[in-house]
């Protein structure tokens, strides 16, 4: 027992404090406060668990649940034989969750070396307070595997896609290219964007401690890969078109050029080449001139290649016959204040010879028998002035002014292809009218299985007569003997047009040649355009003619189309004849 000196010791029960009478409300209040405290706790937990549970739910789920995106690839672009022209292959992107990525300096160094990054920059990114950071994108899969082999905590990888164009600059304008986010920017990549584009899917999963997927939770949205596009393009013919065009531009010191090959029976575009071009796999330092798909987006005054159309209209209308005589002497014709002249003066010519020798005066005189409205309707019917709606970016319709505003001199110049502008693709398409039986067929970028319906423009008779006239143009005495192909009958027309510069005709030319073969049963239309030939020659027959011959010859051989005329060597002539008789 403790004994306090000076203080009287007493038992606990006798404590004077207990003898104090306290007011009853004090104990009740304590009780109420405790109760109130409980009520607040219950209320708060009700609030967190039932009313506003998203936050905690989310925090909880983020410990084990991951939303994964399932990437979808963009469709492939292939030529008519299935050779790939554009394909996406996966690359790796490496990311980190900084909170989980605790790397030793040694590991950081290793990773930085693999990612070809500065180690300090990598450390800075790993110290970020974001929940997710990309470390490096578009890595080759081998590097990705090496990074995975390091087994670093908090470092992960995703698949990404990069687009490759194996044919490179050869098919650049046709296929085009994509920009970021798989967005088609040029050519077929743009024209068929909606079909090519893949739609990524997504899934939510539960991951275990080792990062392995344990279970799917929620619904899975399957990814949809983009559709593959099968073009009408024939890689071999495209290669021929590209190399021959490149050669022609170089030989003639020209500024640019274009070449188009069309299948007469189906309207498929078998080749479309432009020079200058670019490499779609490496698009640094691209210039506008390289990007231009000239055959589609640029119009030019076609010159004499347009003569067959007004002459065919006059034939169709019965205004002239193929053997009607047109007096082209003295090689000049004055209409109003303007004078039309021929490059070489001619005397009286038949209508066929007007085409063969490409007489401007003759064409103008034949066109004078027609009304402007008739001519305009014919130009419209063969597709001039209309956009062909292939879906190519920047496609143009060319310029055919309304017939009501034509003056007689304009009608005359239009008959030989001045004062009207067309694109090379339009010109090539229009020639299918003569290559076929007078009907026009729609063009197609993609493979055609069933021949589409065509619209008649001229009668069969007119188309046949015009074919015969166009064949004469390539024979001796015509404007393009150099467009001949041994073994095949060829029909075609040259064009040499002055270029318009600031409303004035400059002393610069556009040389062109459009033709088809075999003339007995045309299968291909080939159109060649050489812009500003700077060499010794500038006539269509000399500049574009030989290119036409080599391209057309190669394309016919590639397609295995039998020759329709004997080869000019006597030895072979007899062998071939003997062969034919034997069968």
């Amino acid at each position: 027992m403790i004994n306090f000196k000076g203080a009287r010791a007493h038992k606990f029960a006798e404590s004077p404090l207990l003898k104090l009478r306290l007011p009853a409300w004090r104990s009740r209040m304590i009780g109420m406060l405790i109760l109130g405290g409980f009520a607040i706790l219950i209320g708060r937990s009700f609030y967190l668990q039932v009313l506003h549970n998203e936050f905690l739910q989310e925090k909880g789920e983020s410990r084990y649940r991951r939303d994964l995106e399932i990437s979808a690839s963009r469709g492939r672009i292939a030529d008519r034989h299935g050779d790939v022209l554009a394909i996406s292959t996966p690359m790796k992107s490496v990311w980190a969750i900084p909170a989980e990525a605790r790397l030793t300096p040694e590991q950081t160094k290793q990773l930085a070396a693999l990612l070809e990054m500065d180690a300090k920059e990598l450390a800075r990114r790993l110290a970020s307070d974001k929940s997710f950071v990309f470390l490096q994108r578009q890595l080759p899969p081998e590097i990705g595997d090496k990074v995975a082999a390091l087994k670093l905590p908090g470092i992960g990888q995703d698949r990404e896609y990069r687009r490759y164009y194996p044919a490179g600059e050869m098919t650049a304008h046709m296929v085009g290219f994509t920009g970021v986010d798989d967005k088609g920017l040029e050519g077929v990549e743009l024209a068929f964007q909606s079909q090519l584009l893949g739609h990524p899917g997504s899934r939510s999963v539960i991951k275990d401690r080792r990062g392995q997927i344990v279970e799917d939770v929620g619904s899975i949205k399957p990814p949809q890969d983009g559709k593959d596009i099968r073009l009408a393009l024939d890689s071999k013919i495209q290669y021929l078109a590209y190399t021959h065009l490149k050669q022609a531009v170089a030989d003639n010191k020209a500024k640019a050029g274009g070449a188009v090959v069309i299948d007469v029976k189906t309207g498929e575009i078998l080749a479309l080449a432009n020079w200058p071009t670019y490499n779609p796999n490496n698009r640094e330092r691209l210039s506008g001139a390289q990007l231009r798909n000239r055959a589609v987006t640029d119009t030019f005054e076609p010159g004499s290649t347009l003569k067959p159309f007004s002459v065919a209209l006059a034939l169709e209308d019965g205004k002239v016959r193929f053997d009607s005589i047109i007096d082209c002497a003295p090689g000049r014709l004055t209409i109003g204040t303007a004078t039309i002249s021929d490059a070489h003066p001619h005397g009286p010519l038949t209508v066929a010879q007007v085409i063969q020798k490409s007489s401007n005066v003759g064409a103008a005189k034949i066109a004078a028998t027609l009304t402007p409205q008739q001519m305009w309707e014919m130009f419209d019917a063969v597709g001039f002035g209309q956009i062909s709606r292939l879906g190519f970016p920047g496609e143009v319709g060319g310029r055919v002014r309304p017939w009501k505003s034509w003056r007689p001199i304009e009608q005359a110049t239009m008959s030989y292809g001045h004062g009207i502008s067309v694109s090379l693709l339009q010109l090539a398409r229009a020639y299918t009218v003569f290559a076929r039986e007078g009907d026009l067929i729609p063009l197609s970028l993609t493979r055609v299985d069933a021949t589409p319906p065509s619209t008649p423009v001229f009668s069969q008779q007119t188309a046949r007569e015009m074919r015969a006239m166009l064949e004469m143009a390539v024979q001796p005495g015509g404007t393009a003997p150099r467009a001949q192909i041994p073994g095949y009958r060829v029909a075609g027309k040259t064009g040499t047009a002055y270029k318009l510069e600031g409303g004035q005709y400059a002393k610069k030319y556009v040389a062109s040649f459009v033709g088809f073969a075999p003339a007995s049963d045309p299968r291909l239309v080939v159109a060649i355009m050489i812009d500003e030939p700077g060499g010794l020659q500038h006539y269509g027959g000399d500049v574009a003619g030989p290119t036409f011959a080599s391209l057309m010859g190669g394309a016919l051989r590639t397609l295995g189309i039998p020759p329709d005329t004997p080869f000019p060597t006597p030895k072979n002539l007899t062998v071939a004849r003997a062969e034919r008789e034997a069968l």
Partner: protein, 91 residues
């Protein structure tokens, strides 16, 4: 009554163990599936890369170069070709 309750208890325990094992099996199978799907994806990737490689090796410029320079091939002169018309085939 006690015996019946015991029986129920045993049944419950057996069921519980069954749930655990089937869950475990399901997860194992799921992982196997996941693994195979990943393999399928990888094979698909490889297919794409091989296709790319194929078309890179088979570009026309390369074929022409090899044909002309290595194999010394050339386009036959028109006089040296012979066309054999096949009956019934137009092309």
């Amino acid at each position: 009554m006690v015996r019946f309750n015991l029986l129920l208890l045993i049944a419950v325990v057996v069921c519980a163990l069954g749930v655990v094992t089937s869950q475990h099996k399901a997860r194992r199978l799921f992982q196997a599936l996941e693994h195979e799907q990943e393999r399928a994806r990888q094979l698909d990737v490889e297919y794409g890369q091989l296709q790319l490689e194929l078309s890179t090796w088979a570009t026309s410029p390369r074929i022409e170069k090899i044909a002309r320079e290595k194999l010394k091939m050339r386009t036959p002169e028109p006089g040296k070709t012979l066309t054999i018309p096949a009956a019934g085939v137009t092309q």
